[in-house]
Symmetry: C2
Subunit: 189 residues, 2 copies
Amino acid sequence: MELLKQRILADGKVIGNDCLKVDMFLNHQIDVGLLNEIGREFHRLFAENNITKIVTIEASGIGIACVAAQYFSVPVVFAKKGANKNIGNNLYTADVYSFTKGTTTTIAISKDYLNEKDRVLIIDDFMANGKAAHGLINIINQAGAAVEGIGIVIEKGFQSGGDALRSLGYRVESLAIIKSMENGEIVFG
Amino acid sequence: MELLKQRILADGKVIGNDCLKVDMFLNHQIDVGLLNEIGREFHRLFAENNITKIVTIEASGIGIACVAAQYFSVPVVFAKKGANKNIGNNLYTADVYSFTKGTTTTIAISKDYLNEKDRVLIIDDFMANGKAAHGLINIINQAGAAVEGIGIVIEKGFQSGGDALRSLGYRVESLAIIKSMENGEIVFG
């Protein structure tokens, strides 16, 4: 998605060789006009899949998922992280390991909001090693629902998450894939 | 907002005398069509205020803020909670006490995304004792920006947060105010 790539080049900040900060427009301050174009593109890619629900994970995925969901006219369900979930005990859960933090977090979705008739599009802001996506897939499988696809705004193509999921047969559509960002230079794949 | 009140009566669950669960349509599963009507109503209420930024707090506020922001054509900035903020060190911070959890959390917004020219609309899903709103106001004041108003989806009118903010001169607009919910019966104010 050209608009997104141009925005990453203009406003993304590379830290070291593998950290990309996009908090100016995607995950702290949010450019909602850009989000709208991102939502439109996800809908173009998955319009034929009869999506019934968009699933994401708090916090950065929520805004993207909600704006995209307007194009699909389906509800969003976001997985909650950690102990203070306040969504009852009737839960599907999965453990997600974070390389960045070196910790494992339990994510949860209430059994009330996913079922075996659902055709799910997973949406998230970033894909690196894919651990969050695997956790969501695990939960969607527990519900007996179908994973129709995974829509990612920015994939770190130099990490293995996206291709590992593709090799398992999942349709992963990333709107920008970064091949490398050594020496501060972003190269798209 | 009548549509919202009807939805609360239909799908909200009262637990005890003071807990209202709306995770079927607002803060776990999200009815994005309803969010769109909520956004439209916030815009109707604050259309004359020349809002330049919508500020909210992770996680439940983000979807509401993003959908509402489409009506205002302004960016959203969401305050991050806790230690793993990953937004650098150039931060405005405030401490927010949670009665529910009995703990204090530090919330933060990068100094890059709020300044003295901003006219801010705060948006959140719930108002009870108002501690989150006070934390956001504190941060907005640190930035020298103006708090134009506070838009709340559901206010617990039997708790003091909303009226305390009104008595301080803030314009608090709550789309549904719950006067009481004793014995499971929701009464709007």
